[in-house]
């Protein structure tokens, strides 16, 4: 089990830096994780994406399709890739406190 320290706070994470226990996630955790990825401020669009991802995770236990993120937020794919440069998985899902999705991500 690895740990990640951001601004004096320590989190238990997997080797890829995804939260080990998604239930300890809150908005402050999101801000810290985003900052570690170089996103200094989370704007309304970031939060809209994060909310959809969290809701989907709490309801279905996994990350939503990027299709769902676009449909629910009204954002274009291009916007999502720009808002989270590491992409929906390693970028947005990590900030939203999900476990790392399986597969080539």
């Amino acid at each position: 089990m690895a740990t990640l320290e951001i601004q004096g706070k320590t989190f238990e994470v997997d080797g890829d830096g995804f939260l080990t226990d998604p239930s300890i996630w809150n908005e402050d955790v999101a801000k810290l994780f985003a900052e570690a990825d170089g996103i200094t401020e989370l704007n309304d669009k970031h939060w809209a994406i994060i909310k959809i991802i969290r809701d989907n995770f709490e309801e279905k236990g996994n990350a939503p399709m990027v299709r769902t993120i676009c449909k629910e937020t009204g954002l274009k794919l291009k916007d999502i890739y720009e808002l989270f440069p590491l992409g929906p998985a390693r970028g947005a899902c990590r900030v939203a406190g999900l476990p790392k999705p399986d597969g080539c991500v």
């Binding site: 997997d14 080797g15 890829d16 830096g17 995804f18 990825d37 170089g38 996994n62 990350a63 399709m65 990027v66 299709r67 769902t68 676009c70 449909k71 794919l77 440069p85 590491l86 992409g87 929906p88 998985a89 390693r90 790392k100 999705p101 399986d102 597969g103 080539c104 991500v105």
Partner: protein
């Protein structure tokens, strides 16, 4: 250290290196002369500079067990013949070295003085670990998803179909032609196309890029809504039964839909597993054509079925050669033919082609969180290679490489754009109405 390896586990693992009918296995297990030339070919050793990362040492983990149990010298005088017990300590080292410190890229084979097939032996070691139930959890989870749901990300069919329909609408808007499309479950088509599940899940623009190329070529094609996954992580976890089942999914589905040509989407290991390993897994000859999408695009260009204007891609482009398609797949020249037809300014990395360095994410590494730190560390070699080319775009026909390159781009602040071959080609397409 406590020994938790049971006799049953041990027997299963030893059976894998006990097949005396397998001349390749016997030869390669006995072949290493410890010259050390492989050391400087390996990204792990070059980065970490520790003896345990030398490819020959990884091979020795497997061959020392062979010597202990399969040769009388090793059984009688283990320390003299460097023969090892298969116990907990050995297994821990095997997991760490064979899963956690080898992308099975095969660059060491090119540099081996006598041509030992090192990844082949690493794979045998992984098979031993697999029968003992010692596959890293995250890698096994990816295989389980593929075995249980038909794709390695566990995407439900209705969500896949919804994404494809969405992409199709956008494509029809862009091409202003309702006849264009992304076709699902259509029987008797010339091309049965396949995807990496990360495309529909998170990065669907590569699907529409390919659909655009099919449209321009006037191709008759289809995807399956259930079995479209080109990946086969069973090739990496060492469980051949699982690898066989995953290969069988595509094999059965192309038959069900009467597809003529199985076109493997941009995925290095998946192409290798389905094209070269698949007939061995399934113990049958394919009665359909099997080719990669790069070769198909090459065919379209040669036959004049698509027209490209390379000035539409004028930025400097470099090619990342996926190990399983170039060093182990024969696509060296075909990738270059296609990329040079689609881009005006192509430069090579040093080294490139069959001597190219892995992206660092191969061999299942991308799926194994346990070794994330090492993966990004060795990726520095690739980052430096890219920086030296001064390229703005890196093109590669492998989604696994794309993901690793995306992380390298972020970690080492390269400021590059990463594209699949289909995306690069789609950007250069001249579509005559």
């Amino acid at each position: 250290m406590t020994n938790n390896i049971t006799n049953e586990q041990k027997a299963k693992a030893l059976a894998i290196i006990s097949n005396t009918n397998d001349s390749k296995l016997e030869t390669h297990l006995n072949a290493c002369v410890r010259c050390g030339l492989c050391a400087s070919s390996c990204m792990y050793y070059l980065t970490m500079k520790e003896g345990k990362y030398i490819p020959a040492r990884k091979v020795d983990l497997v061959s020392s067990i062979y010597r202990r149990y399969k040769t009388w010298q090793g059984a009688m005088f283990p320390s003299l013949f460097h023969a090892r017990e298969l116990n907990q300590e050995t297994c821990d080292e095997m997991v760490d070295s064979l899963f956690g410190a080898c992308t099975m890229c095969g660059r060491c084979v090119k540099h081996c003085s006598i041509g030992v097939d090192i990844p082949f032996l690493v794979k045998k070691g992984r098979e031993m670990l697999a029968v003992m139930g010692l596959v890293p959890k995250t890698l096994q989870a990816t295989v389980d998803a593929a075995v249980n749901t038909g794709n390695n990300m566990g995407i439900p069919t209705e969500e896949f179909v919804d994404t494809i329909q969405w992409m199709e609408e956008e494509l029809q808007d862009e091409l202003e032609d309702e006849k264009s499309g992304i076709f699902l479950d259509q029987p008797d088509k010339n091309v049965f196309y396949t995807l990496n599940p990360r495309e529909p899940k998170f990065f669907p623009l590569s699907i529409s890029a390919m659909a655009k190329i099919f449209y321009a070529a006037g191709e008759e094609w289809t995807l399956s809504s259930k079995y479209y996954d080109v990946t086969n992580y069973g090739y990496f976890n060492g469980n051949n039964e699982e690898a066989t089942q995953i290969a069988r999914n595509l094999y059965d589905e192309i038959h069900r839909l009467h597809g003529k040509r199985l076109v493997l989407g941009e995925c290095g290991h998946g192409s290798r597993a389905m094209r070269w390993e698949g007939p061995n897994y399934l113990k049958t000859q394919y009665d359909f054509d099997t080719l990669t999408v790069v070769e198909l695009i090459g065919e379209y260009i040669r036959n004049g079925r698509i027209k490209l204007d390379k000035t539409l891609n004028s930025k400097v482009v470099t090619i990342h050669d996926p190990c399983n398609l170039v060093r182990n797949g024969g696509l060296l020249n075909e990738i270059r033919f296609v990329v040079n037809a689609a881009a005006a300014n192509v430069v090579e990395m040093t080294p490139y082609g069959t001597d190219n360095f892995c992206c660092g994410g191969g061999g299942g590494a991308l799926a194994m969180s346990e070794y994330n730190e090492r993966r990004l560390k060795i990726g520095k070699i690739k980052a430096d290679q890219i920086t030296a080319t001064k390229a703005e775009i890196v093109v590669t026909p492998c989604h696994n490489c794309v993901d690793q390159l995306t992380q390298i781009n972020h970690t080492y602040k390269l400021g590059i754009t990463i594209k699949t071959v289909a995306e690069l080609v789609a950007d250069a397409l001249v579509i005559e109405s």
